[in-house]
């Protein structure tokens, strides 16, 4: 178990809860695309880094997870979105 970062407390989790709810409300009421995409990415990062403690894991694990998801997602977007637009 890593103790290099300050260990989260119950309070940390409820602060994150408040941020996640605020972001959700902002996304619903301000429907602009940049806010939606930014909101999704910020929410996803908060959940993985804080709730799933990814920030406390070993660097190897962080890289394995991040590379796996981002690389393949990027390939999906690059291959499928332009094709969809061209149809």
């Amino acid at each position: 178990m890593s103790t290099s970062h300050a260990s989260p407390t119950y309070k940390t989790y409820w602060v994150i809860w408040f941020i996640l709810l605020t972001l959700t409300v902002a996304m619903v009421f301000i429907g602009a695309k940049p806010i939606l995409i930014g909101g999704m990415l910020v929410k996803a990062s908060l959940i993985t880094l804080v709730y799933m403690h990814l920030v406390h894991e070993k660097k190897n694990l962080i890289w394995t997870v991040m590379l796996g998801i981002f690389l393949t997602s990027a390939v999906l977007v690059v291959l499928m979105i332009p094709d969809g637009k061209a149809m």
Binding site: L20, L21, V28, I47, Y51, M52, K58, L61, V77
Partner: protein, 201 residues
Amino acid sequence: MSTVHTHAVSTTEAPFYGAEWRKLMMWLFLVTDALLFAGFLGGYAFARLASDTPWPDREAIFSLNFITAMTFLLITSSTTMASAVLAARNRDLGKAKLLLLVTALMGLVFLGMQAFEWTHFIHDGARLDGNPWGVPAFSAYFFLITGFHGTHVLIGVLVLALTALRSLKRENASEMVEVAGLYWHFVDLVWVFVFGCFYLV
């Protein structure tokens, strides 16, 4: 002190990652599972961009307030789950059990709300192969994506109940709760993208 086992590692520790192996396996599974949903949402984006007819107006079809309430519920359940992991780590097992069961209950309510939403959607004429709004891919992707997500929630509820009722008695209770928690947070994580991509964008 034994000289033979100087380099032996505990069975719950993988030397390369320094993370417990159950946790490592769960992370690797979650990466592949994330790719499943990335594929679904990528396919959804493709179908939507390639559609000749304009994509149906989701706000007119679904109650966005209702879906937002579902989102709140799932986020809150993720918070109680994170708290359960912390309680188990502090060996406060009674609190961990309560938080796990509360989390599972919220998952069940979420499933109930989803069933309610599906019922309405089907009642309005939506089918896997067509719908009154003239874009068959719309309802097909709706059932596919929310169906797969709902199945994940259902499995999550079972995992949480099993963890609360059985795994907490084990020596490695805190590790078991953490692994179950990773799965549950992932379910919430997927919903962030389903909610954003399907209902809002």
